[in-house]
Symmetry: C2
Subunit: 326 residues, 2 copies
């Protein structure tokens, strides 16, 4: 089942079910007005939404052509956005880039941060940037939407709390990170609004690509029309979403609709390219002594999507342009 | 105007207006079902809620006796919980306690962290603790509820975005903080669910005590029946809520219902006592070479409230007991 949120002038938009080929949708507001409302009562709503999705595939319900520009993020605002950094190759490169040591517990204790979740960007929404010197970067990520997840959840029990899978652009302001982290309280100002891909899929839609709490698909990042990354999101995700959920719930519970991100998808094999510019800059520094790639500036565009084996865009395409903000 | 949220078995409870003396309430669900719904449409809802509050004071509307145990946190879940650390004395003591240097920008650049906001504790809800060794501490704080607050808001324009004032117990797990901060991604596991006081007040309810973006009232913390802190929340709040809002909005916007905390209220004058145990332990270390006060353990209770000049509990009382959790 593939869900999305149609802009309708309200804060949370309207829930729609999307055809598997992304061509059309049916309003799901008879089942639940919003995606958050569906998640709040998932056990009751999921079967009804699945029935509607089947009707849509069969042409047995009124449908309309889908325009990605008419979509919000699946959750335009959420109660929590917790983002991991589960790809070891990314952690090593980015820490090296800012002359910071990787944590001693790199491979045993997951890295996660609490992100802002009140005001997300839509899949095709411009990225506002007040100061080019802040070093705007994209980060192509996979994420999952949790149902109610109790404190003390174990990794082996985590799958049942994963309701949906999405993709994200975890926009970062690289040049603000060092001064923010030096204060010891996390990334705050260096993580502006995050954008999410158009469609939220139930894990079963991924078939065999959803395995061991990981998404075994390729994450394609296209910068200014040029494919810069085609990384496998599966095997090198050192901590799976199961592991991350166990980590998250050590000291508290999470409510339905919590978003949990993988961190930047990253492969050791350099031929797979990059899912953020910080990695390319670090590789340039290693190879040539200094970075030559600039961070993003107004006018630059980033497109992010995941294709299945037949080349279909499973989650739809994030397509954003940086614009100067006042 | 004094607002609160009645438990009714739903996730967000039901909005009520509370009498100024805390004795009775009237259901506000004819105006807005929930506090978040009221905040989402504040310009329209605020005058209607104020009218209801006036009727309640005048005995012109049906009211019921108020039992604080029947209340949720005013927002049982929120879209963001951003907590500052605006009392310099607290920063200095707590950093000293964990042998960490205060940041070089201590007095010029506010400290804020992004907290979890999906699952808050009610004012009288037990604090679940899975492991006593984690070092559970209370933190008595003031906080404000924001309306929609755009990116780039200046301190001098910030007041209009502050819709409500509340108090909070920003529960902390002191012994998990060093290892979490060492990883560089913030407090994550060391900040379990936060509790909030029963009542959310419009700033005008504070009269002259609401001044320069600060709450000039005393924050009383009572541990196991003994008053341990009676600190003035006003003058030593180095960064006002106005300053914090300017800091927050540097790189992104915030949605209505965002919660912004002051950090632990703290005074240089030791006779005012403490608003968290970490401070007392540091003072003991300075005076006697080592801390002798233990962190909280199952069975311990903490009560937090703010009194006005006549001794009335403005925001109601947070009253929580630590319980062993599985």
């Amino acid at each position: 089942m593939k869900l999305a949120t149609l802009k309708d002038g309200t804060r949370d938009g309207r829930l729609i079910v999307v055809k598997r080929d992304n061509s059309a949708y049916a309003l799901a507001t008879n089942v639940a007005l919003t995606l958050q409302a569906a998640l709040d009562d998932w056990d009751a709503k999921e079967p009804q939404l699945r029935a509607l999705a089947q009707q849509l595939e069969a042409g047995a319900v009124q449908s309309r052509p889908l325009d990605v520009k008419a979509l919000h993020a699946p959750l335009p605002r959420a109660y929590e956005w917790v983002d991991g950094s589960a790809y070891i190759n990314h952690v090593l490169l980015v820490r090296k880039a800012r002359n910071a040591e990787p944590p001693a517990t790199l491979r045993t204790d997951p890295l996660v941060y609490q992100g802002g979740s009140g005001d997300f960007l839509a899949p095709t929404q411009d990225i506002p940037l007040r100061d080019e010197a802040w070093g705007l970067d994209f980060e192509s990520e996979v994420c999952v939407v949790l149902g109610d997840t109790p404190m003390g959840t174990k990794a082996e029990d985590a799958d049942k709390h994963i309701k949906l899978v999405m993709i994200a652009n975890d926009v970062s302001l690289r040049n603000l990170i060092p001064e923010e982290l030096a204060k010891g309280f996390g990334f705050f100002q260096s993580k502006p609004a995050t954008a999410f891909g158009p469609f939220a899929l139930t894990p079963d839609e991924l078939g065999a690509a959803w395995k061991d709490g990981r998404v075994h698909l390729r994450m394609r990042s296209t910068l200014n029309g040029q494919l810069v990354g085609d990384a496998d999101a599966g095997p090198e995700m050192h901590f799976s979403f199961r592991d991350l959920i166990q980590h998250l719930t050590r000291t508290r519970a999470f409510t339905a609709g919590t978003l949990l991100g993988s961190g930047t998808v990253s492969n050791e094999d350099r031929s797979r390219g990059i899912s953020c510019l910080a990695e390319r800059r670090m590789i340039e520094t290693i190879d040539e002594g200094k970075p030559k790639t600039a961070f993003m500036k107004p006018g630059d565009t980033i497109e992010i999507e995941m294709l299945d084996g037949e080349g279909h865009s499973l989650f739809g395409r994030i397509s954003q342009t940086v614009v100067k903000a006042p």
